[in-house]
Symmetry: C2
Subunit: 373 residues, 2 copies
């Protein structure tokens, strides 16, 4: 992990004054670097005053759940399908959640409006788990909704840095409406989750309130990691690191796409070529749970799409596959194993098989990446 070199620079320069109590909202040094970086890379409109450093996205969300009730907002709309652990987290933080279905362009704004909610959490760049990118028209509609209800949009941009076709990368939603959108990002995917480093770019009127709320949780984030991350940005090391990682993930994504076309032509990849996972839509006759179990017996860890549906039965069967940690050579093998499992399921029901004989394969334990914050 070459990027850890940024710590060496910081350690060589750090003195007692640099490591005194940090500001609760983060070191101005890092907030300034982040404002510049997010503007350049994601079109985010922010400044040192409106950027807040958090202990990962989880803390950002926890602070928001505590702050929103001050505006009379006690109900947070979420995307359906969406992240079930995140939903539980939000509810444990005392906020009610209302799932709102998606169509091919993103969250359904009419159905959102019908819920009466005044805040929504969305993943516009690369929806989790479907991989759908919110269309420009839908973005406009969503922002209009927020303006109409005097509401807020939380944009979780966790996958925004992993876009494989740079020419078509959508910008942030925040760029359209910095007074309505709270932009949230994290170092968990770009670097590692263990830093517990995230950031918010918030509408100016929320800034002081969020610092106040945070000062009841803790007194700020680790100063060494904050300085190291600022160094990572300003030295250009983060850009270089992301180019390398993106290139690696792009190869995996391509291998994955080819493997699906070759071994699992009955399935279709939904969404954009981005991020660290893919949503694989299956034929309607396939039962998800036995397929997930059969894949696991073949050492392939995938999740069923139902796991992420808050309103069951609304969507065709699907698999969510994290390919970022799969060895490149294992991707084709994994899709072949899933095809085996599909065949087995159909054969057991006396239906036609899609391929050759069912052969059990051994492969190292594989791990899909879905957990995040």
């Amino acid at each position: 992990m070459e990027w850890l070199a940024c710590y060496r620079t910081v350690l060589a320069a750090a003195g007692r004054d640099e490591l005194d109590y940090p500001k609760v909202a983060g070191l101005p040094l890092l907030r300034d670097s982040l404002a510049g970086y997010l503007g350049r890379v994601r079109g985010v409109r922010s400044s040192v005053e409106t950027v807040m450093v958090t202990a990962g996205f989880a803390q950002g969300l926890s602070l928001l759940c505590e702050a929103l009730p001050r505006f009379g907002i006690r109900k947070l709309a979420i995307e359906d399908p969406g992240h079930n652990n995140q939903r539980r987290f939000i509810e444990e933080c005392g906020m009610r959640t209302v799932p709102v279905p998606l169509d091919g362009e993103g969250v359904d704004v009419d159905r959102l409006a019908a819920t009466g909610a005044r805040a929504v959490l969305v993943t516009p760049a690369h929806q989790f788990p479907t991989g759908i990118t919110m269309s420009p028209a839908r973005r406009q509609a969503l922002v209009r909704w927020a303006q109409d209800v005097d509401g807020l949009i939380i944009e979780d941009d966790y996958d925004g840095e992993f876009w494989f076709d740079q020419s078509h990368r959508p910008s942030s939603l925040q760029e359209l409406a910095p007074d309505q959108v709270i932009y949230a990002g994290t170092a968990s995917k770009a670097l590692v989750p263990g830093l517990r480093l995230g950031w918010l770019a918030v509408p100016p009127h929320l800034s002081a309130l969020l610092s106040k709320v945070r000062s009841r949780h803790d007194l700020g984030s680790d100063g060494i990691t904050q300085r190291a991350f600022s160094e990572l940005i300003t030295s250009g090391m983060l850009d270089r690191h992301l180019r390398r990682v993106r290139s690696r993930y792009r190869s995996r994504r391509e291998a994955f796409t080819q493997a699906v076309e070759l071994h699992l032509p009955c399935a279709g990849i939904v969404g954009s070529s981005a991020g660290l996972h893919a949503y694989l839509q299956l034929p309607a006759d396939i039962e998800e749970s036995p397929l997930v179990e059969a894949a696991l017996r073949r050492s392939v860890l995938v999740h069923g799409g139902k796991r992420y549906q808050f309103t069951p039965g609304e969507r065709p069967p699907a698999l969510v596959v994290g390919y970022s940690t799969l060895p490149l050579a294992g991707i084709a093998e994994s899709m072949f194993a899933i095809r085996d499992a599909v065949d087995e399921q159909r054969a057991a029901r006396g239906r036609f098989a899609t391929g050759g004989p069912v052969a059990h394969r051994r492969a190292g334990q594989r791990k899909a990446v879905h957990s995040r914050s």
Copy 2:
């Protein structure tokens, strides 16, 4: 800051697996090192299961304020005089506070019992701000009180590592009653506040609840700093660092004691020779606030004792002096400046003066250290 070397060891060895999502309660590696260290140095009885890593003492206290109401505890008794910022913090976290006066042995347990509170926050090693060390008899009485009311004691041991007379260092209160005492420590004084690193050793029955509460605040502390701190403990580097710092602070404390005897014989240092501040009791005729202002005009930053009194008028006038950041050479000068200010005050009232002519001195801006968490 030589101790930063511990990061280099960690950076050389850190891989992706080491920097995955940490456990909410802290890396077992560090919790294990802390349990060993706290047992050896402060007599704390704990284990990897009962130690929790926090983002400083502030987060620990925030989590406790959220957890205690589960046991029907909504009122936290605090020492009077005590830390006013901490009191505000506790109340902002939703817990009521009840100040309980001290006598020369520590918090008054009869008056504590009379409040009806079932939890108390104390600083037994070196009370803040008076510097009083809780006597063995008072410790026993306090533990009996906690057992009688089925209550909890929070032991804030922030100064426990800065005891200048090693042969008489009191052990932790937690050692007496690990089922009633929540022990809290921090790296803020031993190293720097900027790491935002603290720890709790909690009664076993609180362990799971505190992790649960924390998982609604954030998902754990920075993994690099956790590993670095574990390395600092296990390599012996922390012990060496503390010996050096202790020796430096001991010199300052001695210089301070001598300066008070020489220049300010009308004042008396209260409490034990420990920690990073001293409580200087003044003659009854001295008015605190004008003295603090006069000292400030002479570039000496001290706080008045009233600042820390929740029940005004219970104690004689006093100054709280943080000597840890004063340059050694400036300590005598500072006490001389305060004597000047005392003389000036008495002269203005037509009383006798204690010394020679009043001379205004210039010295670099001095900063007392009281802020903590």
